[in-house]
Amino acid sequence: MRKSNKWVHILLGTASFISIFPILWLLLTSFKPVSEIYSDTFRILPKAFTLENYVDVLTRSGGVFWTWLLNSIMISLLTTVIGLILSTTAAYAISRFRFRGRKGITMSFLFTQMFPGILLIIPLYLMIDQLGLLNTYLGVVLAYLAITVPFCVMVLKNFFDTIPIEIEEAARMDGCSQLGIFWRMVLPHSLPGLAIAAFYSFLTTWNEFIIAVTFLKSDDMYTLPVGLQQFVNQFNTQYHLMAAAAIIITVPTLLLFFFAQRLMSNRYFYKKG
């Protein structure tokens, strides 16, 4: 028993090491001075620990990184808020009402979740170009809604399905309107579901790469992922800046994720319908 457990730990330890190594190496690179990074002498830990790459990323070109950060936050927030308004109402309708076409609509929300972004990016690009919305927040947010809304609708529908309808009937007796029931009774009872949908929307948008790279054209409109790409592409190989920027982008993602995970391990999230 002891002996076999030793092997379990060796294997899991190796696997854990492989899974963190690329990011760990990025972190180590970000703390090395340029002279050490681009040197033929192999060294694992930084000899002269420095924050100069971070300072460089945050201050270069008049602090354009802060503009990218602001763009990322604005676009993610806009997508999350608009997406939640659209998907809570749709999910409520699908969950609570029986009407013709309900099944077809549910199926199309399910089906469109499977779409690769590439399928939509070509015609969306042309459409958004025609509307004059390329290189704007609205253009990107519209494209992101195509990705986030179908998923959020299904998550929220499953959640609404678990809320007992008696709550709503009681409110109706008291003369509450349908919108009032939705706003005052259903939404407050669905906070965990709303949180999952919001986390998903925000993280998906925050981490989205290809639509942002394609739709945002000038560096005052870039989001963080597009900005990161400027450091390492066919014209540019500034891995020291890429490493620092990548770490800055990843930290909020990790924090949000582990926060969400703790929330979800709450037994409320596992309540079955």
Binding site: S4, A15, L26, L119, I122, L228, V232, Y239, A246, T250
Partner: protein
């Protein structure tokens, strides 16, 4: 349990999202299908389809190469993710001490944005200053050009994507393992079943429904994966790591062939429909087995 007589209210609740989804999803999709049937003058024609499928068996058909590369990419990825994910889940399930730490560390590749992961690997494989070649040099082995040879580059991008995809498989299997009643194993031990027999007769058969779901989702995600290939190899060298998804992008945004790119898009759509039908079957089968 549901309201019946108030369909018009349902439609009011649905209207905003239907309008948006129509504008940003279904209208573009219809447009794309139409582009694929247009010739250069905007007339209806099968030109693009003839161009792709007509030369399918000729020796220089990029379309055929891309199809086979997509299949290889998806199948190898899925096989490795599935196997490694299952082994890690079985290992995690055997221990108590340190399990939470391993689990957190093993989740990292899934939590980190995929483009950050891809850039991190690209940096590891840098020809001169990357970790791989510097380490090889340090131990006096010849350095290797990781992204210069078609087959090797394909293995590198697959490895990066396996790195990203394993945690999902692992967590799914772990969830499945926890739902297997302990009493089954106790009974098996009483009967004198060896650990191997317990694995093949209890664990694996009971994991089947969840394995089918994980496979279906993993297949769709791998097929759809863009960032890893675009960042690590850009589809090169000489298109040898292009998949349908990345090559469609190249045709549209680097070569400016909207018509051909849209035709590739329709091919992708047919794959996605096939996956969805498969996924639905899996999902229904699972429900019939009463696992969920």
């Amino acid at each position: 349990m549901k309201y019946k007589g108030s369909a018009w209210i349902a439609w009011i609740f649905l209207l905003p999202s239907l309008l948006t989804i129509g504008l940003v999803l279904f209208y573009p999709l219809a447009k794309e299908i139409r582009y694929s049937f247009n010739d250069h003058h905007g007339q209806f024609s099968f030109q693009h389809y003839i161009e792709l499928f007509g030369s399918f068996f000729s020796s220089n058909s990029v379309f055929r190469d891309v199809i086979f590369q997509t299949i290889a990419w998806t199948v190898i990825n899925l096989f490795l993710q599935f196997t490694i994910g299952l082994i890690l889940a079985l290992l995690l399930n055997r221990i108590r001490k340190g399990r939470a730490i391993y689990q957190t560390l093993l989740m990292i590749p899934w939590v980190v944005p995929s483009f950050v992961g891809a850039y991190a690997w690209l940096w590891l494989f840098h020809d001169r200053f990357g970790f791989m070649n510097q380490a090889l040099h340090k131990i006096r082995l010849p350095i290797f050009h990781w992204l210069d040879n078609g087959t090797v580059t394909m293995l590198v991008v697959i490895m990066v994507n396996v790195w990203i995809g394993v945690p999902f498989m692992m967590m799914t299997f772990l969830g499945g393992l926890r739902s297997i009643p302990k009493s089954l194993y106790e009974a098996a031990r009483m009967e004198g079943a060896s650990p191997w027999q317990q694995l093949t007769n209890i664990t694996l058969p009971l994991l089947r429904p969840i394995a089918a779901t994980a496979t279906a989702l993993g297949m769709i995600w791998t097929f759809n994966m863009f960032n890893v290939i675009y960042i690590v190899s850009s589809g090169g060298p000489a298109n040898s790591t292009e998949t349908l998804v990345t090559y469609t992008y190249q045709e549209a945004f680097q070569n400016g062939n909207i018509g051909i790119a849209s035709t590739y898009g329709v091919v992708i759509l047919s794959f996605v429909i096939a996956f969805t039908l498969y996924y639905q079957r899996v999902w229904k089968a699972n429900q019939n087995e009463g696992m969920y």
